[in-house]
Amino acid sequence: MTPLETYTLRHGDDCLVLGQRLCEWAARSPQLEEDVALLNIALDLLGSARSLLSQVGDEDQLAFLRDEPAFTNAQIMELDNGDFGRTMARQLLVSGYQVLLWEALSSSADEGLAGVAGKAVKEAAYHLDHAHSWVVRLGDGTEESHARMQAGLDDVWPYALELFEADDVVTSLVAQGIAADPEVLEPAWRATVEKVLTEATLGVPSSDWRPTGGRHGLHTEPFGYLLAEMQHLQRTHPGASW
């Protein structure tokens, strides 16, 4: 795979895996409006995933027939939903990142990436608004919601740091004006997220622990179950079309 394909696939996998996780909320959310909103976010992410995966190969082969080590999403995308607070914490951290990522990529030297980014940036801005409004309501709501929100945030926070890792693929593409520069994204992301957390009366977690490996196919235990569930029909009926 070329560095561009690797990079495109990483972001496609991010969208696919988080979209798949959000789908698990269907009919389970705290109120009907959230069923609509969470599925809407899932739809946006799945839409971006399809566009990105299609730039690398056949979307269904990539989604349904790769084994776990071939998936290159960041681990934060695959984390269990947990309660609604944890899901919103993850969404804040990821959408805060994706807004900046897509913004940067909308002027990428690669037309394919720029095209997806131009559309996704508007969607991510909505996802961020939505997460922002919930993180604030939960953080500054009741004692229970504050505690749950902080706990969810503390849980997912260390995983967000992987989003800003740079390896040779990223560095070489940044030099060519194709990729977004993680060193530029990270401080902007911190500023976005910390502003929301302050408004939400939540503490900004600090973590020396930096789980890593997703970009190179190393995943968490729950990810195997996500894939088993997602892939089982394609794998049970090889060659069938649906």
């Binding site: 696919l16 798949q20 789908c23 698990e24 269907a26 009919a27 389970r28 959310s29 705290p30 109120q31 009907l32 409006e33 959230e34 069923d35 609509v36 599925l39 809407n40 899932a42 739809l43 799945l46 839409g47 995933a49 399809r50 995966l53 979307e59 269904d60 989604a63 349904f64 309660d83 609604f84 607070g85 604030v136 309501r137 939960l138 500054d140 709501g141 009741t142 229970e144 919601s145 749950r148 996500l226 569930e229 997602m230 089982h232 029909l233 394609q234 009926h237 060659g239 069938a240 079309s241 649906w242």
Partner: protein
């Protein structure tokens, strides 16, 4: 114009118009049960979202389940125009005092069930609901216009998914036939008991809430659907089914099963309610937090 004159002139009753208490009550119950059906209906299909066999099918299914949540929202809002509250109506659902469509108490055990639900269940819903777009109560009629557009989209997508399965591998064809076998009769039951055993029908007809009898609508559905099954090369699980020159004559419906499912003894009644109540209870802290936050903001604004 008074209530009866509006009804007689085939006009629309709006929220501020005077209406008999019995009319209001009947509508609240019907609209609420319709809303409950939309949200409980998210479960059997939601059951396959994470396992959908292609990304295209996944996206279609997510959008469909999202539409059903939207239908629930419009319908609860329509009920609220009659003085009910969503909160109270949900409470009636959760405590088993109001019902939802019996169809959603059957399990979706294969992917083909998702296709069959789109084809048959959304198909039957359309036949039931298109006349409601002319219902005498304005907000309900308007909600139905919007809902019916989306349901017909769901029906076409379901039929298309069913077509792919029935033209697919032997295993897929078998899956499709098996789904039709299991969903056919429950789909016919969606229209409710025969006219003779449907005590409220006459009053609802007189009020312009109902336009056609249960049996008329059921017949309309059978006549539209049997040729579709033929096209798919699937067999309708009714050995007595025959064409009489005008209509398809279908066999005896097992009303014992219908009333058992209605009463709570279908294969999934307990599961659906348990799931629904758990989701609601698990979300209580979130709703409470949103209220507490809003109250704090109001206090600050003063």
């Amino acid at each position: 114009m008074g209530f009866q004159e509006v009804i007689d002139a085939d006009g629309r009753i709006e929220p501020r118009d005077e209406m008999p208490e019995a009319y209001r009550k009947t509508l609240v119950r019907q609209i609420a049960q319709h809303a409950h059906s939309e949200i409980i209906g998210m479960q059997p299909e939601g059951n396959w979202i994470t396992r959908a066999p292609s990304l295209r099918r996944k996206v279609i299914l997510v959008a469909k389940v999202q539409d059903e949540a939207g239908h629930g929202l419009y319908l609860y809002s329509a009920a609220e125009t009659l003085g009910a509250s969503r909160h109270d109506l949900l409470d009636l659902l959760h405590t088993g005092r109001q019902k939802y469509s019996t169809i959603f108490n059957y399990p979706t055990t294969s992917w083909a069930d998702v296709a069959a639900i789109g084809w048959l269940v959304d198909g039957a819903a359309i036949v039931n609901q298109v006349p409601l777009t002319r219902c005498s109560y304005g907000p309900y009629a308007r909600a139905m216009t919007r809902v019916c557009k989306e349901e017909s989209f769901h029906q076409r997508q379901g039929f298309e998914a069913m077509t792919v399965l029935s033209r697919g591998t032997p295993a897929q064809r078998q899956m499709a036939q098996d789904a039709l076998d299991r969903w056919w009769w429950p789909a016919l039951m969606m229209f409710g008991p025969s006219d003779a055993e449907s005590p409220n029908s006459a009053q609802s007809m007189a009020w312009g809430i109902k336009r056609f009898s249960n049996d008329e609508l059921r017949q309309r559905f059978v006549d539209a659907t049997v040729p579709q099954a033929d096209y798919l090369g699937l067999t309708v699980p009714d050995p007595t089914l025959s064409w009489d020159g005008e209509h398809y004559r279908y066999g005896e419906i097992d009303w014992t099963e219908f009333f058992a499912v209605m009463k709570g003894d279908g294969p999934c009644n307990r599961q659906r309610m348990g799931f629904r109540v758990k989701a609601h209870e698990d979300g209580a802290w979130v709703r409470e937090a949103a209220e507490a936050y809003a109250a704090k903001q109001r206090a600050k604004a003063i």
